[in-house]
Amino acid sequence: MSIVRLRAAVALIGRFPALAGVDLDVDGGEVVLVQGPNGAGKSTLLRLCAGLLRLESGEGEILGHDLATDRPLIRRSVGLLGHDTALYDDLTVRENLDFWARASRVDVAGVGAAMDRLGVPSRLHDVGVGLLSAGQRRRVALAAVVVRRPQLWLLDEPHAGLDPSGRDLVDRLVVDAAAAGATVLLSSHEVGRTLELATRRVTVAGGTITGDVSDVR
Amino acid sequence: MTHLGYLLVGWGVSLGVGVAYATSLILRGRRLSARVPADRRRWMTTDDA
């Protein structure tokens, strides 16, 4: 089943053509590593697939929903970890995850499990997010994605800012998600580590796909 | 002619502003027309040249 189908997709950030004609097909269960220099358009590609950006031209379908008309539907079943962690500094870790779980209409019971899976120590559960380190914040942001149990995971440099144990947790997360039948698109500079995870490697440069290698793990 | 001062100010400013705005429109139009490549200068509404 086609999860992501993009044809000559162009997306603008302000007036800058971050994506300048992207063709991409991703099927269910694939783990696609998106590589490329900074400013190549990786983050924009992930945000486009998340249904947050408008197609300037070209077509696209995510999870069977048309990217031009059904963006709200796409967003319901997608989990995006972007550069900003979308957390409220004045609220505690639990309150943040509680809020995002309820907002996503997902059972709040999963919050505790998600925090444990990301190795967020219980002493931090009731600490204001504003007091956390960058690494801890990313774990909480990842936990917010885990809680949503999305069909399509879009992780923008999930390893960034994490210590080695954190990176292992992310890898296990990706493996578990793929095993559970979800599809994962992740961008990363950690070429070595994520290679074993990915079923496919796509290189992006100048807002277009310049390489697509499916190496069977 | 009573209140001539007021009338001249009132009418004068109105006509003056009108002329100034009209010229600014024409000048902005010319400056932009020079920079837009020829093929794109068809107007969407009227097609008379």
Binding site: D84, Y88, S104 | -
Partner: protein, 222 residues
């Protein structure tokens, strides 16, 4: 839909409770504005008495600008606005939730300010019912217009200065209506305050409907 609105409102109010911005900054600011008006007009007692209603609502409008900027900042600091879209929360629910949170905070400040005009301006309240009703109805309209315009300027450069330029003209009917209703409630001018309350209610209703409709369009664009 209303569950989401409640969720968003609770979230905003909890953030407010934790950070104490209203209590520590906005209330003193409102009080300060009243004091300054007092300095400016106190020598001329009759003018101060006659203008109490107007001064009160001018102060509220200043406070409203600060409250709206704070409420908008909550969503824009860490990309939460985008996450709300992603979570699939009904935009109208986000709008109603945030409007309610701003309105409640403004009402708290207004309660303090009513105390202020009684103490500082020696205002005598003839009809507490009309006074309270005016505060509630006018504040709903202010919060609705503020939340909508706050979202509108969220993505724009120099948004701190653009917001007042947009918000104050839109709130003109509130300044006029609420002042007149207060004049009646404070007995300074013989006018039918309840009729003015009707105008404020109309203004509030229109802003709530318009805001709920337009908020989604604005969220989607930026």
């Amino acid at each position: 839909m209303f569950a989401d609105a409640l969720l968003v409102a609770a979230k905003d109010l909890r953030i407010e409770w934790r950070s104490r911005v209203t209590a520590s900054q906005v209330v003193p600011f409102a009080f300060l504005v009243l004091v300054l008006f007092g300095f400016a007009l106190d020598a001329n007692r009759p003018v101060l008495d006659a203008a109490t209603g107007g001064l009160f609502w001018i102060a509220v409008l200043f406070v409203a600008i600060v409250a709206v900027q704070r409420s908008t900042a909550i969503e824009t600091t860490d990309g939460a606005r985008r996450a709300l879209l992603l979570a699939g929360v009904e935009p109208a629910a986000v709008f109603l939730g945030k409007t309610a949170a701003v309105a409640l905070q403004l009402l708290v400040v207004e309660a303090v300010m009513v105390g202020g005009i009684v103490v500082l301006y020696d205002a005598s309240i003839e009809s507490i019912g009309l006074l309270a009703a005016t505060c509630v109805v006018a504040t709903v309209g202010i919060a609705a217009a503020g939340t909508l315009l706050g979202a509108l300027v969220a993505g724009v450069r120099a948004r701190e200065t653009v917001l007042p330029i947009l918000l104050l003209p839109v709130l003109a009917p509130v300044l006029i209506g609420a002042t007149r209703a207060f004049d009646d409630a404070l007995g300074t001018v013989a006018v039918d305050g309840w009729a003015w309350l009707g105008l404020l209610a109309g203004f509030g209703a229109i802003n709530i409907v318009l805001g709920a409709l337009a908020y989604g369009v604005l969220l989607e664009e930026t």
